[in-house]
């Protein structure tokens, strides 16, 4: 770093000069971060390239590997399963996070500290330690190998509840108290006064739930056995292992299909996603 006096006297560097200095070392890093994805897409549209980037750059390019994916490999079914499960889980997560987070945030329930502590503890415990007991519970409820096994254990999420709770504690309570004075019931206050105010944090909960659920792997792998119930990540992982000789272009086409929804959601909502993470990090 240059001498402090010099920095103090010199005018602040023009944004362009400062920006370009940063680009010089950030652009190579960004390319290194994105290169594997470029490789993935390039192979997916190059039917003759195998897993060689050099051949993929020469072409020819077409979408034949995507056609194979949907026509003969049944990936369409996996895609629909993933979408359906993700949509239902997101809806359930948003509804329950709003309900529970609100109650905890307003401390309306006996033992509020106990429940909040339970949520924080749930967040700390690695979910994998519960994989066998959860499997046994689902077996007892005769829910293994059903869509319910992919949905019910994930319908209520501690992280979403925690986000809403933190948000509610910072909301002014005056509006709700005014509504109460006007004779509104608890339920009306929740539905008509609090819920509209929770929209921003519920958007964050929805997006986080979608990303987590779409990419979930271990639990769908062990809770479901039938091919017709498989989600996309599980289907892809198993397809990559049953092939005699690995067909890279085909797998990369599948990977691209699996990435598109989350990348689209991320790019569209990056502000909410990053702010949700920041809110979570501030505890």
């Amino acid at each position: 770093m240059s001498d402090s006096r010099e920095q103090e006297l010199a005018p602040p560097p023009p944004p362009w000069a400062m920006s370009i200095r940063r680009w010089l070392w950030l652009i190579p890093l960004l390319l290194a971060t994105l290169l594997p994805f470029a490789w993935m897409v390039a192979l997916s549209i190059s039917p003759n390239a195998g897993n060689s980037m050099a051949k993929a750059l020469q072409g020819p390019w077409d979408l034949s590997q995507y056609q194979t994916l949907f026509r003969s490999a049944g990936v369409g079914r996996y895609l629909l399963n993933s979408l359906g499960v993700a949509v239902v889980v997101v809806i359930l997560n948003v509804v329950t996070a709003a309900m529970v987070g609100y109650v905890l945030g307003r401390k309306r329930i006996p033992g509020e500290r106990f429940w909040t502590l339970g949520i924080v503890a749930t967040l700390m415990v690695p979910k994998q330690t519960l994989m066998i007991p959860l499997y046994l519970v689902l077996a007892r409820l005769h829910l293994l190998d059903t869509y319910a096994a992919l949905i019910l254990p994930f319908a209520v999420d501690a992280f979403g509840i925690f986000l809403v709770r933190q948000y509610v504690t910072q909301l002014p309570i005056e509006l709700e108290e005014a509504a109460r004075v006007d004779g509104a019931t608890d339920w009306q206050i929740f539905r008509e006064v609090a819920l509209p105010l929770l929209k921003p944090v519920l958007a964050v909960v929805a997006i986080q739930a979608f990303l987590t659920n779409w990419n979930s792997f271990l639990f769908p792998l062990i809770f479901v056995d039938s091919d017709r119930l498989r989600t996309l990540p599980v289907g892809l992982a198993l397809l990559s292992q049953t092939e005699h000789s690995v067909d890279w272009g085909f797998l990369m086409a599948g990977s691209t299909v699996a990435s598109l929804p989350v990348v689209a959601v991320f790019v569209a909502f990056q502000r909410q996603i990053l702010s949700g993470l920041l809110a979570g990090a501030e505890k």
């Binding site: 920006s19 971060t33 329950t96 309900m99 959860l134 209520v156 929740f190 990303l211 992982a237 990056q270």
Partner: protein, 291 residues
Amino acid sequence: MRTHSRSTAWFLASPWVIAFALFGLYPFLFSLGASFTDYTPLAPSSTRFVGLANYTRALNDPAFWSALRNTALFVIGTIPFTTAAALALAIAVQPAFRGRTLFRVGFFLPSVVSIVVLSLVFKGLYANHGGLNGLLSALHLPTPAWLQNPRTALPAIMAMDVWSASGYYMIIFLAGLEGIPRDLYDAARLDGADGWARFTHITLPLLRPTLLFVLVVNSIRSLQIFAEVFVMTRGGPLGSTTTVVYHLYEQAFSRFQLGQASAVAYLLFVLSLGLAWVQMKAVGAQEQSRS
């Protein structure tokens, strides 16, 4: 304001109460009990109490220790790099400059993509005639069989983890950096502190809570590495990439030794809690010795 009934409150809280009981507490206690028996879902009626037999068998299983060793190597070998990279990226993309959002979004991108997809892509990159070896041979460098060699397979997966996780923790560090008052830096600059001094005397001490959070969250996450191993190596070659959770999965769902697997799961649970506790103590002690 406390005259109304609590029934609405309980109704609103009911999803968590039910889910926590059914999918949290009950399985947790049930399997804690099962870990002291020879329970198997195939013949639940003939369950017998076996005391600590599952734990002693798990602890005497060389495969468990090998999995633990691999997981420890993974944690020790990735966390310093991920943390350093994430912090450097966060500092680099914090101030206003042109294209800042593009860089933030780009570095974070691997975090939103499925680990299965990342693993498939890297399996292709690491393959014998794959992307990485294509590059290395063009540069006339040696081209090892990354995932087939017991010496390179785990480091290869670790390198992917550093690549994919750094952007995520970059965002967490950004949150911490935003909380540091700007005028501290201005004051330090007036006192003649250079960039490195400002980093070690302002940024690092004030970032300690964030650093603690990142270390704890990332180590607990690293203890759970599974999908990467399942897709890229299935624990091989020669068990060199079998992590604790992969070991747990094999034991429970390939060999159906559920009692012993439950014991391993509880050891993992205790390990995670212990790790979080040790790190909190360590950072807390440092904080006290500084102030």
